[in-house]
């Protein structure tokens, strides 16, 4: 705590915790300029105001002048009120903000939770003294939690000092980044060109579909016109106006479009290879770093303490070939290792998530009632709709197509939900949660338990009768829903996560 007291000694008059202070008068100017920018982006409101004035006066110049004047006056009043109703105070441990006119907000931001401080000084501030704009960001929301305009420079310095002091009191302070090429770093894996080319091809599943169709393009080109003769699309006037020979040209157009798609996908596959060219993953003193790219070298850093989870992604073709893509996701960004073999993947996981369990065969599926519920709520109404179409009136060509289309849609949804249920699985050990999900692309998440931010358990009357519940786990990078799991299991998952939060003495970020 020596550092905090030194900050207090430096600027003692600013740390009297009971006094509320206002920002400088310059804040009115800042709010005014912001309001003008926002107002003129919102042309709908100004357009509406102008329309009302024009309807009354029938004079365009008078309308513009009056609309502009009224808008600027409103913005100025708003800026003054925003300045008047904004107050802050700094205590030993947090900064408090009181703001809002009609919607009042009282915010407490502990210094230890401030992730980022940005201090800016617009050019016109310099004429009025040492004033700055401060933006304080924690992990609570995506945008800045606190924006203070026209803050005296010494107050901004004090806030920065207190935030830095609070961070230095952490049990595990942030270590300095180490260059990947320094002696402390070592190469974790290096990807060869064949793997990267394979990755580029495997990512474009449509390419596979179109490539398979290539063998049948001639037959498709001949079949489409015949199909249109047997099943002409009843488009009223259009059918009467289109000549018969156009059906042949439709077939040719389909082939040409498919060929263009093929060429485009081939180019994008090569581009993917170029993007990941010479991919090398280093293990540094405080985390990981990847270097890749042919035309543009890209370095991505991932500090170990900021890593939120690891996700292993693979589609059905990659599963057949024994390949997977691993993403190391940290708070705010991610690092991707493409097209790894099984051994490479295991080595990487052992480095990033040491002590993790074997993934194969351990996942428990959620209750089949989850699948039943989705089929009943989505597919059953579609089925009934198809039945309604089939039973109404005269059976025409269009009605038949509609019935088949509706049935196909229902069947598609059923397959979709089945895959979703089949893939969804979870288990846990002492240190990690393991969650698997996805439909066409299987994703497996390995998440340290102590990264848990919040949890929710919900139970409908149907779930209660069957001893089930839905457990949702919230992390900094996202949330995971475990639907229709046993009530006891859900409670134990949450309890074990919270226990890890209390016992593991490592910062989550």
């Amino acid at each position: 705590m020596a550092n905090i007291s030194s900050a207090s000694e430096l600027i003692p008059h600013l740390t009297m915790g009971s006094e509320w202070r206002r920002t400088g008068f310059l804040a009115i100017g800042r709010h005014f300029l912001t309001g003008v920018r926002v107002a003129f982006k919102s042309y709908m409101e100004i357009g509406g105001l102008s329309a009302i004035i024009f309807a009354a006066t029938k004079d365009i110049f008078y309308t513009i002048a009056l609309a502009l004047t009224l808008t600027l006056m409103f913005i100025l009043c708003q800026a003054i009120m925003k300045y008047w109703f904004f107050r802050f105070r700094i205590t030993d441990h947090h900064i408090e903000i009181l703001s809002g006119i009609f919607h009042r907000k009282h915010l407490n931001l502990p210094f230890g939770q401030i992730q980022q401080i940005s201090i800016e000084q617009p050019a016109y501030y310099k004429f009025f003294g040492n004033y700055v704009d401060a933006f304080l960001d924690s992990a609570g929301t995506k945008k800045n939690e606190v924006e203070i305009s026209a803050l005296p420079g010494d107050v901004a310095a004090l806030i920065r000092l207190k935030a830095e002091d609070a961070k230095s009191c952490d049990v595990n302070p942030i270590q300095n980044s180490v260059d990947a090429r320094s002696p402390e770093s070592k190469i974790l894996l290096r990807q060869n060109h064949s793997s990267l080319l394979l990755y580029g091809v495997l990512q474009n599943k449509l390419l596979w579909f179109v490539a398979i169709l290539f063998g049948f393009f001639e037959k498709i080109k001949m079949a489409i016109p015949k199909l249109l003769e047997v099943y002409p699309v009843e488009m009223g006037l259009i059918e009467k106006k289109i000549p018969a020979h156009i059906n042949d040209e439709i077939g040719l157009a389909v082939v040409l479009v498919a060929f263009a798609i093929c060429v485009f996908l081939a180019i994008s596959s090569v581009l993917a290879w170029v993007q990941h060219f010479s991919f090398t993953l280093y293990k540094t003193a405080d985390g990981f770093m990847s270097v890749q790219g042919l035309l543009r070298k890209v370095e991505t850093h991932a500090k170990k303490r900021k890593v939120q989870w690891v996700v292993i992604k693979r589609n059905s073709i990659e599963r057949m070939l024994g390949r997977q893509n691993v993403n190391i996701e940290q708070f705010g960004s991610s690092l991707e290792a493409p097209c790894l073999t099984g051994i490479q993947c295991n080595d990487l996981l052992n480095s990033v998530m040491p002590g993790h369990s074997q993934l194969n065969g351990n996942f428990k599926r959620v209750s089949p009632l989850y699948l039943v519920k989705q089929l009943l709520t989505v597919c059953l109404p579609i089925l009934l709709l198809a039945g309604a179409f089939a039973s109404v009136g005269e059976v025409t060509q269009n009605v038949t197509i509609l019935v088949y289309f509706t049935l196909a849609l229902g069947f598609g949804f059923a397959v979709f939900f089945f895959l979703q249920w089949y893939r969804r699985g979870f288990f846990e050990d002492n240190e990690y949660f393991y969650i698997r999900k996805g439909r066409l692309i299987e994703k497996t998440y390995i998440i340290p338990k102590y990264k848990l931010q919040a949890a929710s358990i919900s139970q409908s009357w149907f779930m209660k009768r069957n001893g089930l519940s839905t457990c949702t786990l919230f992390f900094a990078n996202g949330r995971f829903k475990l639907p229709y799991i046993g009530s006891d299991k859900g409670s134990s998952i949450v309890a074990s996560g919270f226990e890890a939060v209390q016992t593991v003495n490592t910062s989550w970020v």
């Binding site: 809002g100 907000k105 915010l107 919040a454 929710s456 919900s458 409908s460």
Partner: protein
Amino acid sequence: MSAEIAPEEKAYINALFSFSTLPVAFKLSNQILIMGAFVGLWMSALMGLRFVSEADTVIGRYLLEFFCQWAWLIWVSYASFRWFADDHVCYRVLKHEVSLKKGWITNQLITTPVKRIQHIEVNQGLIDQFFQHGELKILSAGHCLKIRGLPVSEAENIRLELLAIINGEKNG
């Protein structure tokens, strides 16, 4: 969430609030009043502007029928549902976690560990200020726990207690 409550936490619960005794104070929330005002405004506008009687179109007749006959019913149904559902909302502040229990048809229990709290807000809209109640927001990374309809004094007390717990943990 804790199966066994430590003695110091029992005193804490008695001193603060428990699940069974204190639902949120004000059940008729902003949303219901604003929605009612919106419906009333549209009904007045349609009647006052004589939109239907002068235009007498199919759409005009449909709009009038909808807003006069059904909108108030939707509003009353929604207000009644919220009245009963909000009776089931209650919260708990412990040394290590904050929990909110809500839901009428589907029960939901949301918990945030105190260690993961990023910052705390107490918000008051215009109608909230009139009735002296507000919304307590407890933000962690990736989640926001909202307790609506609290008296402002209660919300401030909880805010101060949570800050004291957070600072107490930091001081060891």
